[in-house]
């Protein structure tokens, strides 16, 4: 059985499978994760931590969501 994790995305409570990446959860909800310096929408691109397109804020820190595992009670802010 897969264990689950409960976290918060833009204030909304979300349940997802433990051991997965934050990017996989966010991508399934909405492919747009942030905007570029010129204000254009961006989403998951390399999936392995080298392009920085999947950056979101977690508990106040900017992280690459594709190399960040989901954790209980994480507070995630998408889009900036």
């Amino acid at each position: 059985m897969t264990e689950s994790v409960i976290l918060f995305v833009d204030g909304e409570q979300v349940r997802t499978a433990r051991g997965t990446t934050l990017a996989s959860l966010l991508h399934a909800r909405n492919a747009a994760l942030r905007t570029s310096p010129a204000g254009r929408p961006r989403g998951l691109y390399c999936g392995m931590g080298v392009c920085f397109e999947c950056m979101v804020r977690v508990d106040g820190e900017t992280v690459r969501s594709c190399v960040t595992q989901v954790r209980d009670d994480m507070r995630v802010e998408v889009g900036q």
Binding site: T20, A23, H27, G43, L44, G47, V50
Partner: protein, 471 residues
């Protein structure tokens, strides 16, 4: 912020097929070994482990191989550190890493870099739209996380890896809208398999996978544009003409597409070996810039530093495992342990054979760097800093004579990815515009920190290293 430090005789960066083989070999030879990887589970790209034991990928041979290689390391007493990312390294060796929220400094006598490969992207119009991702990203979403890239997916690009990704879709029971391959193939594959018949079974399996996805096949076609407003909505394809260029006049659109997974091949990850000043060479068939390593020991040009796997040139899992084992034995010998000469000679022969197959494949799917010419002037070249092709070409025309100068003038490659994504196409544009080779156009130079790290962790790492300075 806290930090800790560790010491070992042999440190291995990367726990893919190469790193795990290197760690096991060095440990078997008697060295004490730490092997680290930024991902949560060992295995690297080839042996990537699913998040859940209930995944249908658990039984797949690559996953089983990765699991077995990691288990073997643990059994031998290798210290395996996951979610640990190296952000700087100094000769000697002192390595600075981030482990979750902690700083970690590792001092090692010998060091093996097996940092693998990454996609070698080619920018095209619309490639920054959410929903467009590398083929490797799609594979990792499905295989490791059980997430769909989208509901209607086009898989495109060129090379054998696309077959593997199609097979991943098939194994997950997913369908593909279209499969777009630049090359025609057909009979051109035959001579290679006549020389390497043992590889035929694997290839046939991948082809069956592609068929099972129900994809419409578009050979000798390329994606010329991804279309959409806030995210991907459609994909425009064009056939390749007799001159090798896409024929825009015959292009057509596939509508209702929410995911485009695209890949034209891989390039070595050389940030750590470059930071340490090892010699690198440019070799188109091996993915561009690669770290030079001795085939019998894995030794680089820096004393005590070894390299293995894709870092030394793209070749896939077979060469990665073999070069990993060679480097493991080489590093153990460097640490004063005795390695068996007969085993090394055998490994070197197998490595030459495995590299021969990989190079044969690479010749059938040459990297189509020229496709960067299809990017329109307003098209984005550098994603991090939103630098367009026109910006870059204006800088070149104003006198920026190599990739580094273009970087300084336009900020292309100065963003957080440090040019990893746009670097090779930037060099391609420079080379084409001023008539030099891609190698002469310059390489991408990494800088501190190689990977992003909060200041607090960098500070803790420095404090841990006795206030040692980082250049």
């Amino acid at each position: 912020m806290t930090g800790s430090s560790q010491k070992c005789e042999v440190l291995v960066i990367g726990a893919g097929p190469a790193g795990l083989a290197a760690a096991a070999a060095a440990r078997e030879a008697g060295a004490d070994v730490i092997c680290l990887d930024l991902f949560a589970r060992p295995g690297g790209q080839y042996g990537m482990q699913p998040a859940s034991p209930a995944s249908r990928f658990e039984a797949v041979s690559q996953v089983a191989e990765g699991r077995a290689a990691a288990a073997r390391c643990l059994e031998l007493g290798v210290k395996l550190l996951t979610e640990t990312e190296v952000f700087w390294a100094e000769p000697g060796f002192r390595v600075f890493a981030r482990q979750g929220q902690e700083a970690l400094v590792i001092e090692a006598n010998q060091m093996i870099v097996a940092s693998g490969a990454m996609e070698r992207p080619i920018p095209f119009d619309g490639w920054t739209l959410p929903g467009v991702m590398t083929a490797g990203a799609a594979q990792r979403l499905i295989k490791a996380n059980g997430t769909l890239p989208g509901n209607s997916t086009v898989l495109a690009g060129s090379g054998p890896f696309l077959f593997a990704v199609a097979d991943t879709f098939a194994k997950a029971g997913l369908r593909l809208r279209a499969y777009v391959e630049l090359q025609g193939l057909g009979s051109r594959l035959l001579p290679l398999f006549v020389r390497h018949p043992s590889r035929l079974k694997e290839a046939a399996g991948l082809l069956r996978g592609l068929r099972a996805t129900g994809a419409s096949l578009h050979r000798r076609h390329v994606v010329v544009e991804a279309l959409g407003g806030q995210r991907l909505e459609a994909v425009r394809l064009a056939p390749i003409g007799g001159d090798g260029k896409p024929q825009r006049s015959r292009s057509f659109t596939i509508d209702g597409v929410d995911s485009l997974c695209i890949g034209y091949g891989f390039q070595p990850v050389i940030d750590v070996t470059s930071a340490l000043g090892a010699e690198h060479r440019h070799d188109t068939l091996l993915g561009g810039w690669r770290c030079v390593a001795d085939p019998l020991t894995g030794a680089t040009s820096v004393a005590g530093l070894y390299a293995a796997g894709e870092t030394t040139g793209i070749g896939g899992a077979g060469p990665a495992r073999l070069s990993g084992r060679i480097a493991g034995l080489g590093a153990a010998a460097g640490a004063g342990k005795t390695a068996r000469a007969d085993e090394i000679a055998r490994l070197a022969r197998q490595l030459a054979d495995a590299r021969d197959f990989a190079q044969g494949l690479a010749r059938l799917f040459p990297f189509p760097g020229h496709l960067v010419d299809e990017l329109s002037p307003s098209g984005t070249l550098c994603r991090c800093e939103d630098v367009s092709r026109a910006d870059v070409e204006a800088a070149i025309d104003d006198g920026a004579g190599d990739a580094l100068a273009v970087k300084m003038w336009t900020r292309a490659g100065m963003g957080p990815c440090q040019g990893r994504i746009c670097g090779s196409s930037l060099a391609e544009l420079v080379a084409r515009r001023i008539g030099v080779s891609v190698a002469e156009a310059g390489c991408n130079r990494p800088h501190m920190p190689l990977r992003p790290v909060p200041l607090s962790i960098a500070g803790a790492a420095l404090a841990q290293a006795d206030g040692g300075c980082i250049r």
